[in-house]
């Protein structure tokens, strides 16, 4: 899993039926000192995260697991909101 900041959201009316009702968030992965790193991506939201929050997200097929038994076509999903993190 990786840590990212939620920087926005995406609206799509025409989409796969399994995505109906799910929130799509734009994520910017960050380094431990909160600097942006790497490309932005779009992730599904499994926990009710919002813009400005630091979250951790899972990539790959596991991104669809929070929505089982529905077969959701997702390759990135926010699975936790970070309260705080420390790196020595």
């Amino acid at each position: 899993m990786q840590i990212a900041r939620v920087i926005g959201d995406v609206v799509a009316t025409v989409k796969d039926a399994a995505l109906t009702g799910h929130k799509l968030l734009v994520l910017q992965p960050v380094t431990p000192d909160r600097q942006a790193t790497g490309r932005t991506l779009v992730a599904l939201d499994a926990i009710g995260a919002g813009v400005g929050e630091h979250v951790f997200f899972v990539r790959g097929k596991e991104a669809s697991f929070p929505f089982l038994p529905a077969e959701t076509p997702a390759d990135a999903c926010v699975v936790g909101i970070v309260d705080h993190w420390d790196v020595d």
Partner: protein, 89 residues
């Protein structure tokens, strides 16, 4: 998922039989501001997208979970047509 702009179509007569009647589109990944980034890719269209539209693409094995692609040899599927991208942060 990544954001991408559809820039073209692909026609292939000889292909895996599970790809017969799939629509293949050429997409260019973009950032939320619309700036092109990374290389072009070919994705199977499941939402009737067209050239010039901004779309959502799911990659890897998750692409097979898109409607109608079960057990198909694909690693990128177009699963949404983007109406609006809001970047506030």
């Amino acid at each position: 998922m990544i954001l991408a702009k559809i820039v073209g179509t692909v026609v292939a007569t000889r292909k895996d039989e599970r790809l017969v009647s799939s629509k293949l589109l050429v997409a260019r990944p973009i950032d939320p501001a619309g700036k092109p980034e990374a290389n072009y890719l070919v994705a199977v269209d499941t939402v009737d997208a067209g050239v010039g539209e901004t779309v959502l693409i799911v990659s890897g094995s998750s692409a097979r979970m898109a409607a109608g692609l079960k057990d198909c040899p694909v690693d990128a599927a177009i699963i949404g047509v983007v109406d609006q991208i809001d970047v506030k942060g």
